[in-house]
């Protein structure tokens, strides 16, 4: 690792591309910005090409993939915003904070659209828990972190799933999903439009948190990653609660033309993405960015992943309106730059230009895109020979049943969801413990049903069939709650895309999800990809988590799964 570009995670061919775009050598700041933006986590360079298979639109889709969250119409001028996001690697290192900041990040994605977050869900995977103290530690820490953040925010955590399997031993999965409600005409997007408009920064001060966290999420976990431990970000749910209320109040005034949360790759990604979606260019001054630590240099400010920060694009002349509302909530806002239309993202340090790059070259539209080879893994062919008729019928069915009920993968999940405030804001009509959670939509008779599902053992055995099963299982959960399935968000967790057998699994899963979603008319409106979930030894099972939303026109018709009274008739539907 002697080349500067390798240190920021770029390959030689990628560095050549930077040289070509700039027509010169990048300075250190620029190189780091390309490094984080062209990491797998930010650029989706190995996965993007396959997304075209997904059905992403129908007459209900108001916002498909590509924004902070997807939005689906539920009638009467109302819509649901939703997205799922992984925080696997941070949670492997510091389970409480990793999971907490994962929840924080996904909540920001929802209110950045202008939606009021009303529910959280999560999908978790760990190694086998029996007799493994490390797994227990991770599991307890993750659950506590999710609870700590969601409870403090006052957003009920109403559902999720957890499985234990040895393939997750070194690579736990923590995916968090947030769902919000929004009126059609209140949807906001992350556009830096209107030349001369102000770029404003709101929320927590910037520290050296999660430095390089974006590129960090894109490498296999090794001994070395121990050293990056100081990269741990700490969540501040109280700050986020204030930020949420302040942003929703701000968006209602009409002075905000664009809004984006600062997530992976911090200011760098927020600036280049909003610029690309808007007028094309932006100029910001790092000295105006509030900092928590002394002596921070421009590159640290630009790629820091400090939590609880938002970027606002504000109509010129209305900055004071923003300041007033933000201050009412005990926060500060500052102008850090302005919208331009020269296509450049210009980073200033006072009067000095310290970095200048075409904004769209950083963004995923300008990032490298790979079409990887894939190859059917050997295990798949082998397992095809398996015949279920070869399995001996057990002698004692009662014992088998008891073992199953008592196994970590099938036992009650009450221990988890009792730690989550699943009732706050009094809209949870069907609580955790049933097939899907049902939330009322305040001010209407409507309800929405929410679930996350994925059986990754099935996906390992047959990625295409397994991922179809995940989608239809989610749909069955939604239907059994009395709702019409509308759309999904997908959390795709896989091993290294650079290994042909893993990439085959990924591709098969995408094809399976696409086929099932097309069949059910439940388009994919948002999602997340987490690759490199592998240790030196092995990869995780392919784990495409499906988060689904459905609508009930009359929430009083919501249905729960338990038997209601003696004498009721039991009917078995299907084959």
């Amino acid at each position: 690792m002697s080349n500067a570009y390798e240190l920021v995670g770029l390959k030689k061919s990628e560095y050549d591309k930077v040289l070509e775009v700039l027509g010169r050598e990048p300075n250190e700041l620029e190189l780091n910005m390309y490094g984080v933006m062209w990491s797998e986590h930010c650029s989706y360079k190995h996965s993007r090409a396959l997304f075209r298979h997904f059905p992403t639109s129908n007459e209900r889709v108001l916002q498909g993939p590509g924004e902070n969250a997807g939005i689906i119409d539920i009638g009467d001028n109302l819509a649901v915003a939703m997205k799922i996001e992984s925080h696997n690697h941070p949670s492997a290192i510091e389970p409480y904070q990793g999971a907490a900041t994962g929840v924080g990040g996904i909540i920001r994605d929802i209110f950045a659209m202008g939606a009021r977050p009303i529910a959280l869900l999560n999908s978790l995977r760990f190694g086998e828990i029996e007799n493994d103290v490390r797994v227990k530690y991770l599991f307890e820490g993750v659950v506590e972190g999710i609870a700590g953040y969601g409870n403090c925010m006052g957003i009920p955590t109403v559902g999720g799933e957890v499985y234990f399997n040895k393939s997750y031993q070194g690579n736990p999965l923590v995916n968090a999903m947030c769902v919000g409600i929004i009126e059609h005409d209140k949807i906001h997007r992350g556009n830096a439009s209107g030349v001369g408009n102000s770029i404003m920064y709101v929320g927590a001060a910037t520290g050296r948190d999660g430095m390089g966290g974006a590129s960090f999420a894109s490498v296999e976990l090794t001994e070395e990653s121990e050293e990056k431990r100081s990269a741990v970000q700490v969540g501040d749910p109280f700050m986020e609660k204030l930020l949420l209320e302040a942003c929703l109040e701000l968006l209602a005034t009409g002075c905000v033309v664009g809004i984006q949360d600062l997530g992976a790759a911090g200011l760098t990604s927020a600036c280049c993405e909003t610029a690309t979606r808007g007028e094309g260019g932006m100029e910001i001054d790092v000295l105006k960015v509030p900092r928590r630590e002394k002596g921070m240099i421009p590159v640290e400010i630009m790629i820091s992943e400090s939590q609880e920060r938002m970027l606002l694009i504000v109509e010129k002349g209305r900055e004071n309106e923003v300041n007033e509302i933000v201050e009412k909530w005990g926060l500060h806002s500052v102008v850090i730059g302005k919208v331009t239309n020269d296509g450049m993202l210009r980073v200033m340090e006072g009067d000095k230009v310290v970095g200048e790059m075409p904004a769209n070259s950083l963004d995923s539209s300008g990032a490298p895109r790979y079409y990887k080879d894939y190859e059917v893994p050997a295990y798949y062919e082998e397992l095809k020979n398996f015949k279920s008729s070869d399995v001996k019928e057990p002698d004692n069915h009662n014992e088998v049943l008891l073992n199953m009920i008592g196994s970590p993968n099938l036992c009650s999940r009450e221990w988890i969801y009792k730690q989550y405030d699943h009732m706050v804001r009094t809209s949870t009509v069907v609580k955790p413990g049933s097939d899907a959670a049902v939330m009322r939509v305040r001010g209407t008779n409507k309800g929405i049903a929410l679930t996350t599902d994925c059986n990754s053992r099935y996906c390992y055995l047959d990625p295409r069939e397994g991922s179809k099963i995940a989608v239809v299982e989610a749909a069955r959960n939604v239907v059994c709650s009395g709702a019409l399935p509308l759309a999904i968000t997908d959390g795709l967790n896989f091993g290294s895309p650079e290994k042909p057998d893993r990439f085959w699994q990924f591709r098969e899963c995408i094809l399976g999800i696409s086929e099932a979603c097309r069949e059910l008319d439940t388009p994919v409106i948002s999602g997340n990809v987490s690759f490199y979930n592998e240790t030196e030894k092995d990869a995780i099972y392919p784990t495409p988590m499906i988060g689904m939303v459905g609508v009930l026109e009359d929430v009083e018709k919501a249905c729960t799964m338990e038997f209601k009274k003696e004498g009721d008739i039991i009917v078995l539907l299907g084959e």
Binding site: A204, D236, S306
Partner: protein, 79 residues
Amino acid sequence: MKAKVYVTLKNSIADPQGNAIRGALNKKGFSNVEDVRIGKLIEIELGDITKEVAEKQLNEMCEKLLANTVIEKYEFEII
């Protein structure tokens, strides 16, 4: 043998709690307060062991259980 263990956040780690308390103190009229960091004080009754053993034990306890060395540092004092 008794010991006091002090567990504090590493300097590079944000302390939202400390920040909020600093804000509250500033507002309460203590405008001179510049920074607040909140850590733990753990008092341990170690029973009848020697100072050497105590030191060895405390190091181990801190590394394994009392501090989360990913984000915290520790110090102790035997009394």
